[in-house]
């Protein structure tokens, strides 16, 4: 009996040391393009984590056609809502899935943690380069040669979703500039509504607004990062929204909550400056308003301008430690370039493809009933070409967002301003970069 117990003790002790030594070894893996060879015989099973609505149905199409490469899909909350944290923990523990959905703004964070497989050696991936919209490829390659850290999936060109019925009834013209938007806000408030709900805790929307105005938050010259969350353009955008908040012309319901859905469903908020995938958020969150919405181009800073912002957009990345990067890359390419997958992704989740010929996808030419039969993707197709390509994301966006969001939340509750929040977020970001030995200019 005693011997047996001793045996149990020994094995568990061994298991413990095995765990720790393997994780130590994992840190030593050098960066650089990994080899991309097919698996030597036998069918391959890949794991894939994503939060795209109904992604299972899209993956099923692949699985039915490819018995030799089976993909097991797992769904979770959206990236910053918990999935990224899971990914980081799984990477630390050495059991990350083969593939994961990562938004462009989070790619630098995963790369800096050495969590991604460089697919530059995978011919099917590099061959597809020219099929993608330039700026999306720029996001996954970081503008470097021999670097591909993910396959672009979708983009999030922004436009103005608005309650056509309410605007017509109140006799308010659809705003084409931000100045008109602020003027409309006053009239909407007088009519008992709010022009929109200011996204206090999801900073990505604000980033999209700043992107449109010409804000550039991060730059990386190869030796160090420069952080500037208060450049001229961003300051202009922050002051603009601060003014609307101070005048109580926008509501500040926390985004992505039942309460937020309810505010749109009850017609309290009349517009939403959002990305193309927002079409799905409205139709699923505010089902009672079906047929009453329409989409117009994003309001402009200069009358007659044609500049759009971008909010979100994801890539399909292969995690470090995947034993089958070749097969994983094949699946990622199919998922993001094949007509059948892109059509399904658009029908199920309103994703707007990151490929150049995606704009001609038949599904995108149809009118959408929820938006009164409007061919809404025409608006987004135009916006996609108006997104300025050179926006760089920092390597610790999680902490930048968390800090900015703490400040934004305080600002909507009346203490401090959006600009204060950005100032604080900049300090926190620089501190965080330093604490992880990531070189940063002061």
């Amino acid at each position: 009996m005693k011997k047996k117990l001793l045996g149990v003790l020994m094995t568990s002790a061994l298991a413990l040391t095995a765990c720790s030594s393997s994780s130590d070894g994992g840190d030593e893996v050098a960066a650089g393009a990994s080899s991309c060879a097919p698996a030597s015989g036998g069918p391959v099973t890949l794991t894939f984590t994503s939060w795209i609505p109904k992604i299972e149905e899209v993956v099923k199409v692949w699985n039915d056609a490819h018995p030799e490469i089976q993909v097991k899909v797992q769904t979770g909350p959206n990236g910053n809502g918990g999935t990224y944290q899971n990914f980081f923990n799984q990477l630390k523990a050495g059991n990350a899935p083969d593939l994961g959905q990562i938004e462009y703004d989070a790619l630098p964070s995963f790369r800096v943690q050495d969590g991604l497989t460089n697919l530059a050696a995978c011919k099917p991936v590099t061959d597809a380069k020219d099929r993608f919209i330039d700026w999306t490829w720029n996001q996954v390659s970081f503008g470097e040669k021999d670097a591909v850290y993910g396959v672009p999936q979708d983009s999030g060109p922004m436009a103005l979703f608005y309650r056509k019925d309410l605007f017509e009834k109140a006799g308010i013209p659809v705003p084409a500039t931000w100045e008109e938007y602020a003027a409309a806000a006053v009239k909407v408030r007088a009519a008992g509504g709010y022009i929109t709900n200011f996204s206090q805790s999801d900073i990505n929307q604000f980033a999209g607004l700043a992107w449109q105005a010409g804000g550039r938050w991060f730059s990386n010259d190869g030796t160090k990062w420069t952080v500037n969350l208060q450049d001229e353009a961003t300051t202009k955008v922050a002051n603009y929204w601060q003014d609307l908040i101070a005048k109580k012309l926008v509501s500040a319901v926390p985004p992505w909550t039942t309460e937020w859905d309810s505010a749109y469903n009850k017609g309290q908020a009349w517009t939403w400056v959002s990305a193309v995938w927002g079409a799905n958020s409205i139709s699923s969150g505010a089902p009672d308003t079906s047929g009453k919405w329409a989409v117009a181009p994003m309001p402009q800073w200069t009358a007659g301008g044609k500049v759009a912002g971008n909010w979100g957009g994801s890539s399909t990345a292969v995690f470090k430690g995947s034993k089958h990067p070749y097969e994983a890359a094949q699946f990622a390419i199919w998922l993001n370039t094949s007509q059948e997958a892109l059509t399904l992704l658009n029908e199920k989740a309103n994703l707007y493809p990151a490929t150049k010929d995606g704009a001609t996808l038949p599904a995108l030419g149809k009118g959408v009933d929820f938006y009164g039969g409007q061919k809404i993707y025409d608006v987004f197709a135009a916006a996609a070409t108006q997104v300025t390509p050179d926006f760089t994301w920092g390597p610790t966006m999680t902490s930048t967002y968390a800090s900015a969001s703490d400040g934004f939340k305080a600002a909507v509750s009346g203490s401090g301003t959006l600009l204060d929040a950005l100032k604080k977020a900049q300090t926190t970001t620089i501190d965080n970069l330093k604490s992880q030995s990531i070189p940063v200019a002061e």
């Binding site: 005693k2 117990l5 413990l16 840190d27 990224y84 050495d114 926390p254 309460e259 999680t398 305080a410």
Partner: protein
């Protein structure tokens, strides 16, 4: 000597699990907290090297963390006495013979504890939200999720969940008081009030001390309620409580700093709990 073997045998399952799921993680956290990351260039591979107390220096320079510690201390100073006072009152009422349907009430008070903390927080969050709450008369006059009130809104949730649990501990201590003590008190002419004040409360003091220590530990480790309330309220930041700071730091991910935060928090909890125990036991000796 042979009699020790069975003891070892019975202790071993606990010992193994304790070591694997308690001591090993703590050891790992301490180890992590003593390391730091170095890298070359903006995307150079990271190397973990021994960093001494560098992470601890960051912890002590971190303003938001210490603000959050102050916040939970304030929370504890108000919420723990209110909750335990209520628990004691309910236990005394159940024990007093004034209440009919003791079994029903004992169960009814305890039921909230059976509801997972996250579910309880979501439920209360809905009750507090101005647009969703059925109690519009309250929520339209007081924004319970505002910066001034949200801490106490959460205190209400915690109290609601744990009052029954603490009541049960105090109530079982009351049941353990020998009947003779009451008889003696009655003979000396003590009424129900006098008995409660001079006999029952002093005799269940150890149970109250125990529940206080549990509550202090629980307060310092508040996570589920603020985590859930973040989605409802704009007043709950990502560093609202110490544990939330640990959580946000680990999701950056900055595991080394998060480990240092955890170690400091654990030490603070130890110090507070033992100070309280020491303080109360010295009081008992007099």
């Amino acid at each position: 000597m042979t009699s020790r073997k069975p003891i070892l045998f019975f202790v071993l399952p606990f010992g193994l699990l304790f070591a694997a799921f308690y001591l090993a993680p703590i050891g790992y956290a301490i180890k992590q907290s003593l390391y730091k990351v170095t890298r070359t260039g903006t995307f150079g591979p990271a190397h973990e090297v021994f960093g001494g107390l560098e992470q601890y220096q960051r912890v002590f320079q971190n303003g938001p963390f210490w603000e959050s510690v102050g916040r939970v201390l304030l929370f504890g100073v108000v919420q723990v006495p209110v909750m335990l006072g209520l628990a004691l009152l309910l236990a005394l009422l159940l024990d007093s013979g004034l209440v009919r349907g003791k079994r029903f009430f004992r169960l009814a008070f305890f039921v909230p504890y059976a509801i997972p903390g996250v579910v309880a927080a979501i439920m209360w969050g809905f009750l507090y939200s101005p647009n969703l709450s059925p109690f519009t008369a309250v929520t339209s006059n007081w924004n319970l999720l505002s910066a001034d009130l949200v801490l106490w809104a959460m205190a209400n949730v915690v109290t609601w969940v744990y009052v029954g649990y603490n009541m049960l501990i105090i109530y079982s201590a009351l049941l353990a008081i020998p009947q003779e003590v009451y008889e003696a008190a009655t003979i000396d002419g003590a009424g129900p009030w006098r008995t409660a004040w001079s006999i029952k409360i002093p005799l269940v003091m150890p149970a109250i001390v125990l529940t206080t220590v549990f509550s202090i530990i629980g307060t310092l480790q508040l996570l589920a309620e603020p985590q859930v309330f973040r989605t409802f309220s704009s007043a709950v930041s990502s560093t609202y409580t110490p544990n939330l700071t640990v959580y946000s730091t680990s999701s950056i991910p900055n595991f080394n700093l998060a480990a240092a935060f955890s170690v400091v928090l654990a030490l603070a909890t130890f110090v507070l709990s033992f100070t309280f125990l020491k303080f109360t036991s010295r009081g008992g000796d007099k």
